[in-house]
């Protein structure tokens, strides 16, 4: 090529702008696709989480408490993820953790106690579907979050 791009572009400024715009449009398209993919990924992440945790959640009377992350704090404190307003419950009472495909409950209170299926919890144990957790006067049942289980 005996003509440099600079000369080209000074001769045809519209060409230069058009070329750059062409590249920018492709990059923008790509960015748009990534945004759409991110949205899909979000739904996928939700489904994946529900599947991974077997859709377990806590039920107390009419109320359902979702378990949206791997660490769920139960207590009287307003900052607790599941807040139970009962003077017998510690500010931070129990911690639910998810690992190895199972939910675990752990007593982090200063000794007011947790009963799982009627037995006192000493340190921590695995939670299974239909387990009943008693914290203070509250009773919470572990239920499976798919439609059938909730109805029953």
């Amino acid at each position: 090529m005996d003509i440099t791009i600079t000369e080209w572009f000074t001769q045809y400024p519209a060409l230069r702008e058009g070329l750059t715009a062409f590249a920018v449009i492709f990059v923008d398209l790509c960015a748009l696709a990534i945004l759409l993919a991110a949205k899909r990924e979000r739904n996928h992440s939700d489904r994946h989480w529900a599947k991974e945790t077997h859709g377990l959640m806590l039920q107390s009377g009419e109320e359902y408490y979702p378990l949206g992350s791997a660490e769920i704090l139960i207590g009287r404190h307003p900052a607790a993820d599941i807040r139970l307003d009962d003077p017998e419950i510690s500010r931070f009472h129990a911690l639910l953790t998810f690992s190895n495909g199972q939910w675990h409950i752990e007593d982090v209170s200063s000794g007011n106690g947790i009963k799982v299926n009627g037995a006192c919890l000493t340190k921590s144990r695995v939670l299974r579907n239909q387990d009943v957790i008693a914290i203070g006067k509250r009773r919470m049942r572990v239920v499976r979050g798919d439609g059938k289980d909730v109805r029953s």
């Binding site: 572009f9 990534i34 791997a70």
Partner: protein, 425 residues
Amino acid sequence: MKESGKALAHPLLMVLVLAAHAAMLLVILPMGNFAEWVKLACAVLTMDFIGSIVLQLVQRQACTVDTVLLLVLGMSTIYQSCFGGLEFAWKHYLFGLIAFLACQVSYLVVRNPYRAERLKPLWYTLFGILLLSILLLTGSRGIWIDLGFITIQPSEFVKPIFVLICASSMQTQLKKSSVLGIHFVPDNLGLILCTVLIAAVQWWCRDLGSLPTFAAVALVGLYLRFFYLREKFSMRLVVFLGICGIAACIAAWKLAPAYVQERLHSDIWSDMTGSGYQQVKGLVAIAEGGWFGKGAGAGSLHSVAASNTDLIFASICEEWGLFSAVMAVILVLFMPAAGLTVPPRSYYHAGLTVGVAAVFIVQMTLNIFGSCNLIPFTGVTVPFLSQGGSSMLSCGILAGFLKAAQAPQFTIPVKKGGKPNGGAA
């Protein structure tokens, strides 16, 4: 419910990334120097292929961060190769590739928040080693370690380690120790100590440019920790912290060393050939570039020192136009923004996401607004766009953290006897 591996339009995304790169390569084809163009084109397209294969091997749950990373790395390689004439920026390309692999490695290391948390003593140790290396190996108050064939900037690697230290899980926060009747969380004490240490070291070696980055990470880290277990959103605490922050800024402003003071108060337009030289050249380059730039390779900023690191925004503006430059910056911003679409599932990963967002955004702020004379000009880099080995690698590691929060794994290593340890006994 679909199978987890199949749910994504992953191959289609890769095709689009490839197309974007191909379009950019086509645009620069008329620049001449065909041999270099072939090298560049092969390199960029190979990176895309390698990338998509590696992604298929590592994980297939979340690909936003990786796709953005591949797109940005390819784009920045093309940008870097074009400045002042087409010449394949193999160094930038190589470090980009390394950064991409580092991203995968760091993802594998921290994707399990329990394990990453249990490795905290290791992070503290690495932090200490890096600080010592800054103090002992960089020579007289410098920030570079010269190994002869390559120079390393250890303070760049402190960033990912510091982010790892900043993140914390709920279990750790509930573990309180008590000494002489004072209750405290050991991990919080560790973070505060590390913050003070790194600030002191940065001050000592006059690397004040990255001080705001560490300050921002520490700030968001402490915010998340202290507000986990706070009563409500405490306005008084926020006001108190705000006043402390402003006081610290004023103190830093007043106590800053002479060369920083000079930068704070200098008017670049009255010293166009002296201290304001780089910024003036950069601003004029942006103005001359306009919306769509002068055309790849047609710029003149490449003759200015640090044009492909500190002045990267102006360099892209000059050749590709303000529109492309802003687009590139927004694409980098996509990475921390991924944490908004797919929420992290554990406190440790939430902390990592916020920390990485703070690093990326503060670095971009310092670089872009500094080079455009809105704030003092400091020598920090824009993640993935600026040339630079250490910073590229550390940013790759940080991107891995983001990815970990998107596709986490919750397993606890099983001890002998088949019982999981840690939270469950």
